[in-house]
Amino acid sequence: MYVAVKGGERAIANAHKLLAERRRGKRSVAALGLEQIVEQLSLAVDRVMNEGSLYDRHLAALAIKQARGDLIEAIFLLRAYRTTLPKLGYSTPVKTENMLIERRISATYKDLPGGQILGPTFDYTHRLLDPALAGEEAVFSLEEGPISPNNFVRVSDILAQEGLIEEDGRLNGAKPNDITKEPLDFPMGRDTRLQALARGDEGFLLALGYSTQRGYARTHPFAGEIRIGEVEVEYFIPELGYVVIIGRIQITECQMVNQFSGSAKVPPQFTRGYGLVFGQSERKAMSVALCDRALRANELGEDIVAPAQDEEFVIAHSDNVQATGFVEHLKLPHYVDFQSELDLVRTMRRDFEKAKDAVRSTACGLHEKQEKQKTGEVSSER
């Protein structure tokens, strides 16, 4: 029987008012402006843009503020918002080789054209809390260095000159899939996988990438190249019949260089994992690249022995909006479901007690019999 239950409207309305109040916090503390979030919590903004799968710094900042800094909630808000917007087409593929570099490093070549550019990195900091940051920071002038002409050759191209690495990914003529239009279907192409990984939960993908390093599907990765910076976005305007630049976005690209594949026909060569994400999101890009490589197991003829190689396991559980939806739905009223479970467990308990009683009585009977036998034996002995 289905029982409709009404009520709770007042409690819900008041809970939301209380939420708004708690979000605002003490009124004696200045309210947080969106510009402050965009400028000073920019990596949180980048994470929300990535997993919300929408590049818009101000919307991501608004989502972070509204979510009280709960980034998964903010990602949820951004995903919900994007469904209200019409899709107006696609950009032409961004050209990472023309990036305005903010950071570019390679762990495989010390001296490579363009050099190792550290950029604004946490690497080599001592991870000591800085009490000075608790107040206003002093303004200091930045040192400036000589600008090298833009010759940031891709590490994969250096290796490709000798034919020592597989070439860039090909789809064999297939049109790139779009998971915002087509439901996920397994097995999937590398294009679909890379799109799903780009919006995947950073923590989940980080853990899976880590698992491959620890031996669950070893791929022997090297960070061939990581680059962070701005690229121009081009869009085709049908009325004009040509593409125009419509702005710039910041992205992070990671090229993992992994150990060999080859066959009787193909000489041994390095394989690759690729990660491309929004903003300055180095850990995410590296995790995507590690997972991309691990998930190519089938394509490269490797044994599938570990979770990180299992496409359905990885992709179906990487979306934290889906994950949080299903986990958190457990909070919703399940009164009727639970009532039936309660009835069921009571019935089972009754049956169990009955069975136990029966066992006890049988056991007693047995005991008596044995007693009798014993006495019998004794008597017979007598």
Partner: protein
Amino acid sequence: MTQGERQRLMAVLAKAEAASLQEKWQALAIDPLCSVLRGPETGLIGVKGHIGGGGDAFNFGEATITRITVRLRDSGHIGHAVHLGRDTQKVKLAAILDALAQDATYKERIFDAVITPLEKEQRIKDKKHQAQVAATKVDFFTLARGDE
């Protein structure tokens, strides 16, 4: 306006800071009558990358864009603008400039007073950025081992 000039104009306007564009527009002191043919409309585009950096295209995320099409009342010229983001005022201004620049009487003024200065600002900003980043370039040196 040639295709190349129009692509340049649109790119510069798309990358410009809203406040800077507004300032240059005010200084231009042109106030043409125009009607909006389409938009302003905010929506999404799928942003594509290349697999492996240079391979086939794939979608890796979406971005907000705003677009508008305007027609100038006097000349009938049609202007388009598509920018990343949701700044409808800026997009409208860009479309009007695109329409005006098709008129030989305004073209030179627009390029001289708006496009070229904005381009210069962008270039200066980029150079400063590149120089700051260049200061973080690693200079490797080898330590003498002292055993020779």
